[in-house]
Symmetry: C2
Subunit: 328 residues, 2 copies
């Protein structure tokens, strides 16, 4: 890219790699996405085929936008992504095994610089660049989806740790000896409770434990009960469904208290499907968090929601890596 | 201070404020202490008297060393110290109530710039400047003494959080609903178990719960049983005393696993009296920590001991703030 092109005419390519789909977009420095596209991730057994297909899918958008000269760089969000090495390492949900030097491979294919981080960190950078965390130097981003992801910003920088893997708050042990996480074999980790999967499991446990308690949730087959069903029943006033969100919120609030006493963030920003439960979750979260905080931390931390449109957030987050990139 | 004096001829004053004693020293940039002194903290009801006495005690050392021109600055470690504001805020162990603008007051009295932080953060800066963490960009310092303190370094900088109070790891909840911490009213915080006070309490609980189990600890009156007695009995092979350290190490190891999944440090550095228990504590700590870590974090984190002499560490840590200080 020629450095003489003003930033207002430059674009970042944001690529979000998920187990099923890989989505991408061209993003300007204000966070407007001018082009959307997607390819299937999982149909590519070999990483080279994946990159070839991705190139073919993106190149028309690049040409339409003014050619490769206006592309400042490529930002990639990927599961188990390592910012330091630009690699994906042993991602359980992807077909490519071992350590994949994805940023290098993509950078070479496109002929521009590429940077990669995990999806939760990308979300935090996106929020800082275009969203609710503009101007914040200390915050924690919590993604409440199928799993629980996190990105931590302190002193205005993402915390990557010595190896690039910091910020696995979903796997911290909140309830020692508690519920088994089937993916990790660990007991009592936050993700086992505060993910959408965890909420569904709590609902089934509550239904089983209180067989004589009526509940709207009993109108659904066991395998139909997910976080959305529990949410809808709770919104209709179902006592057991309300208890499920109360229980979940208390565990999340306890975990947040510990995170706050670690890095004392200005705000905790929630993102992901589960965050839509709103007050149902946030009332017990705040109450429990405040209760467990030392007095010096109380009534200071903002609990807020992402300001990025959910469908775009992963692409925006990935693209945000580019604007922080040093020019070669 | 004249900027023309080479750094090798400059001194930092390190001041460590404790509830009983306030210690100070003149420290060169390599960490050699050329002068030691102390005054009583608690005999000064008013902060102004304290500062006057401190000035009288330190000024001969300054004059002996070449006068105020060679003093680069003053670093202060204090309980509840806030780096951003240079204040001590509501320190329970000090007589001065409310918010004390100590860095300002001391800076004005001496006519040089002064910087203040809490004692645990000062220990981390000291370790980074003169000790085991030279060259490390990501580590956590854990002080195991009467309480459990911590200082967290990420991306080469102390994490202070938005308000200056980050790094209260001793107060994170490791065992929800667990042992009451009499100072905070919280249940199950790390400090309730992994401090010297916690070890003594565990010993008494174990003795009470197993009244027919012989133990060398029964040769001591209840009020004599402290972490040192438990340590000495354990070193003689006492089964119950060994169990106390094993129990303590497991809880500390669980807490450390959570800290590692937060900031992924290169090392955890231990400091303080309890750290002297060595393998007695560290074997169960490492085993339990590794067990609870996600595989990507396993067998990476170094558990090491402070390389600063304990008697000097607080002064060195406070003085280290000065070398990072920007010259006015």
């Amino acid at each position: 890219m020629s450095v003489s092109i003003p930033i207002s005419q430059q674009f970042a390519i944001g690529i979000d790699i998920g187990g099923t789909n890989t989505k991408f977009g061209l993003v300007n420095h204000r966070g407007d996405i001018s082009y959307h596209g997607a390819i299937l991730t999982h149909k590519h057994e070999r990483i080279e085929e994946f990159i070839d297909d991705l190139y073919e899918a993106i190149i028309p958008a690049i040409n339409d936008s003014g050619g490769i000269e206006v592309i400042r760089g490529i930002g990639i969000g990927a599961p188990n992504g390592n910012i330091y090495k630009g690699t994906i390492e042993y991602a359980p949900n992807l077909k490519w095994k071992g350590i994949i030097p994805l940023a290098d491979l993509i950078g070479k294919k496109f002929g521009v610089s590429a940077k990669l981080t995990n999806d939760a960190n990308a979300a935090a950078v996106g929020e800082m660049t275009y969203g609710a965390a503009i101007g914040m130097k200390d915050f924690i981003m919590i993604t409440l989806g199928t799993g629980v992801g996190s990105g931590i910003v302190a002193n205005g920088e993402l915390i990557y740790g010595h190896d690039g893997f910091a910020g696995e708050l979903g796997h911290t042990i909140t309830i020692p000896g508690g519920r088994l996480h089937p993916g990790t074999g660990e007991h009592g980790s936050l993700e086992a409770y505060a993910s959408a999967t965890g909420v569904a499991r709590t609902a089934l446990e509550f239904l089983d434990r209180q067989p004589y308690e009526e509940s709207l949730m009993r109108n659904y087959a066991r395998e139909e009960i997910d976080a959305r069903v529990v949410y809808e029943c709770a919104m209709e006033g179902d006592k057991l469904a309300l208890e499920v969100y109360d229980f979940t919120g208390k565990i999340l609030g306890l975990a947040l208290a510990n995170f706050v006493m670690f890095s004392s963030p200005e705000a905790i920003i929630f993102f992901g499907g589960m965050a839509k439960a709103g007050d149902l979750l946030m009332v017990p979260v705040r109450e429990t968090m405040e209760k467990h905080l030392l007095p010096i931390f109380r009534n200071k931390v903002k609990l807020i929601f992402s300001e990025l449109k959910e469908a775009d957030a992963a692409i925006l987050g990935a693209s945000a890596l580019v604007w922080e990139m040093k020019q070669a």
